[in-house]
């Protein structure tokens, strides 16, 4: 979208984002700022409530009206980690599936994006849109054949099946993102490197890598988040051995007795990696979610 801002003349004063500073009319602005704060608090409230409830005892977690100021305790977490079935195998399965599929995605996506931007093949935009079109097909339609294949190949409840599926799920996003990052490499720099007689390896290492490194990190984080969140395929294709954290969460809910604090602790623990990754990649999140079309 830089085409829009590039044409603007440079005003004398600019704020931290490089946009011209406007005169403020303070009267209405105070109310609008207050409104922004109220909306922000309302949206974050369920998350805060989840964390607060996870730190209460089961008796205090399920009261009406809510006991906001009840004493804090780690019992919910203790119960989650050592009460029933251990959450560590599913958490480790999720970690394995997410990290390995993300690495596989990068391994496939970076060369592909290179062939779609820096040294483009013929009809490169057709290829790019083929990748995108696979993202639009409903995953549930591919579920049955993959299940039947896994069943006949003895791959049910095998983490590698999930890794391959998550790779295909995230590859289109990664190709689009990496292509948009690679096209930020200035053509002049590539030409200058060619004139200087730099080979492919040297160009990759000293011209392209410094520009796209942040992009690779952002792509990796977004692929990680999507793999970590996935429920439907993990539920159908895994059982006790390769079970992932979201599947564990769904089977965790029991109808007997008080469990809210423990449930909130579990939900928070499972969400924690995504919250960390997401806040770390906050400013790249839009670009990833819009497949690189919005910067």
């Amino acid at each position: 979208m830089s085409s829009v801002t590039d044409t603007a003349p440079v005003p004398a004063t600019r704020d931290s984002r490089g946009r011209p500073v406007r005169k403020r009319r303070d009267g209405a602005n105070v109310w609008l700022s207050l409104l922004a704060w109220v909306v922000g608090v309302l949206f974050v409230l369920p998350v805060v409530w989840m964390v607060l409830t996870s730190l209460h005892s089961e008796e205090n977690a399920a009261t009406n009206p809510p006991s906001v100021l009840a004493p804090l305790t780690l019992d919910g977490y203790r119960e989650f980690f050592s009460g029933g079935a251990s959450p560590w195998p599913p958490l480790l399965n999720s970690l394995t599936a997410s990290v390995l599929s993300t690495l596989l995605v990068l391994l496939l996506a970076i060369p592909a994006a290179y062939a779609l931007s820096i040294k483009p093949v013929r009809k490169w935009s057709d290829v790019l849109f083929f990748f995108l079109s696979t993202k639009m097909l409903p995953v549930v339609a591919g579920l049955l054949p993959l299940y039947l294949f896994a069943q006949s190949a003895g791959l049910l409840d095998n983490i590698w099946l999930l890794i391959v599926f998550y790779t295909s799920m995230n590859l289109p996003i990664a190709v689009w993102m990496m292509r948009s990052f690679l096209s930020e490499v200035p053509v002049e720099m590539l030409e200058a490197a060619a004139v200087d007689g730099a080979g492919l390896t040297k160009t990759l290492r000293s011209v392209i890598a410094p520009v796209v490194m942040p992009g690779i990190a952002a792509t990796a984080l977004i692929c990680f988040i999507f793999s970590w969140n996935e429920l439907l395929f993990a539920r159908v294709l895994t059982a006790t051995v390769a079970e992932t954290a979201p599947v564990f969460l769904t089977s965790f809910v029991t109808s007997q007795g008080l469990f809210l604090a423990q449930l909130c602790a579990a939900a928070f623990v499972v969400s924690l990696p995504v919250l960390i990754a997401g806040f770390a990649a906050q400013d790249k999140l839009v670009q990833g979610l819009s497949l690189g079309s919005v910067k």
Binding site: P46, F130, L137
Partner: protein, 318 residues
């Protein structure tokens, strides 16, 4: 579907050398692309071919001896199935509801955040948080910690509010039973508004502010500027948000599965197909339903691709 993409001029970037040399260099260009392309064709296209084949078969895992060719029977059964028609309707309501509400909320919040004020970064961070809770965890929290009629936060807050005014009979609705589809929609709106807000905020920050400043000097008021300058500029971002949101929410499984287990008229297409396959083990019928969903998606996706490609063309035309 690829016909939407415009062919850019890069094709002719290099002068055509002759014969074998050209073929070798063309393959050298293609080589880095092939692993990803072949992987995608095998993992995403082959299963659809299999789905298509199975959709014409009589195949239920409970009756393994009766596997055979079924012609269009599965499709007939899908089209005459009341549950299936309900699922189509539910999917449309759910997707349209979530996309429209979260788009409007996202627009309002993006406009609020497109101004400088104390703690803007903090509010933006708070706004993003819902999107970063694992979807199934979010659905569980909404079901048990917020909607629960006995100890959920909503009814708890009602009790507290009524208590403030000395009243002791606060309304305690059973949210999920009373309005099951809205319960799912609200939980999803909470998760998707940040997504819309982020895309629209990026759009707002790409506005040419000098033109707006000029309009203001010429005496245009805020509403006129919003109507005739901001909104047209945001149009493509609104479309992008709506279409990407639709792609993801049409496929929603986590919220429906967790909050209502598809009961009370909330079973959407992904959940219904999951049920036909996972519980009824009717592979033929599940595949026929999947084929129909794919055909429907292709129609919608063609529009989606057109929107993305218009954004993409602008970028390519730099």
């Amino acid at each position: 579907m690829t016909s939407v993409a415009e062919k850019p001029s890069v094709d002719t970037a290099e002068p055509p050398p002759s014969g074998a040399v050209r073929r070798v260099s063309a393959w050298a260009r293609r080589a880095p692309l092939l692993p990803a392309l072949i992987f995608m064709i095998i993992v995403t296209q082959l299963p659809f071919v299999a789905t298509l084949v199975i959709s014409f078969m009589d195949w239920n895992a409970y009756y393994p001896d009766e596997v055979g060719f079924a012609g269009f029977d599965n499709f007939k059964r899908v089209f005459t199935d009341v549950n299936m028609r309900d699922a189509v309707w539910t999917t449309i309501l759910l997707t349209a509801g979530v996309v429209l509400i979260s788009l409007l909320l996202g627009l309002g919040i993006a406009l609020l955040l497109d101004r400088k004020f104390r703690g803007r970064g903090a509010v933006r961070t708070m706004m993003i948080a819902p999107f970063l809770v694992v979807p199934v965890a979010a659905a569980l929290i909404w079901k048990h910690a917020l909607y629960n009629p006995e100890y959920g936060l909503f009814n708890g807050a009602l009790t507290w509010l009524w208590g403030l005014f000395g009243a002791d009979n606060p309304p305690q609705p059973d949210w999920i039973s009373n309005m099951p589809l809205w319960a799912v929609i609200f939980a999803l709106v909470w998760q998707w508004t940040p997504f819309m807000m982020l895309i629209l905020l990026a759009g707002l920050q790409g506005r040419p502010l000098d033109v707006i400043e000029a309009a203001r000097i010429d005496g245009a008021n805020s509403w006129q500027i919003f109507r005739s300058m901001t909104l047209p500029h945001l149009r493509q971002y609104l479309e992008l948000g709506a279409l990407l949101g639709s792609i993801y929410i049409v496929q929603n499984f986590d919220a429906v599965f967790t909050i209502t287990s598809g009961g009370l008229g909330t079973a959407n297409l992904p959940y219904t197909i999951y049920q036909i396959f996972y519980q009824a083990h009717d592979y033929g019928r599940a595949s026929a339903a999947a084929v129909i969903v794919v055909l429907g998606t292709i129609i919608i996706a063609t529009f989606a691709l057109r929107t993305v490609s218009s954004l993409f063309k602008q970028e390519a035309g730099r």
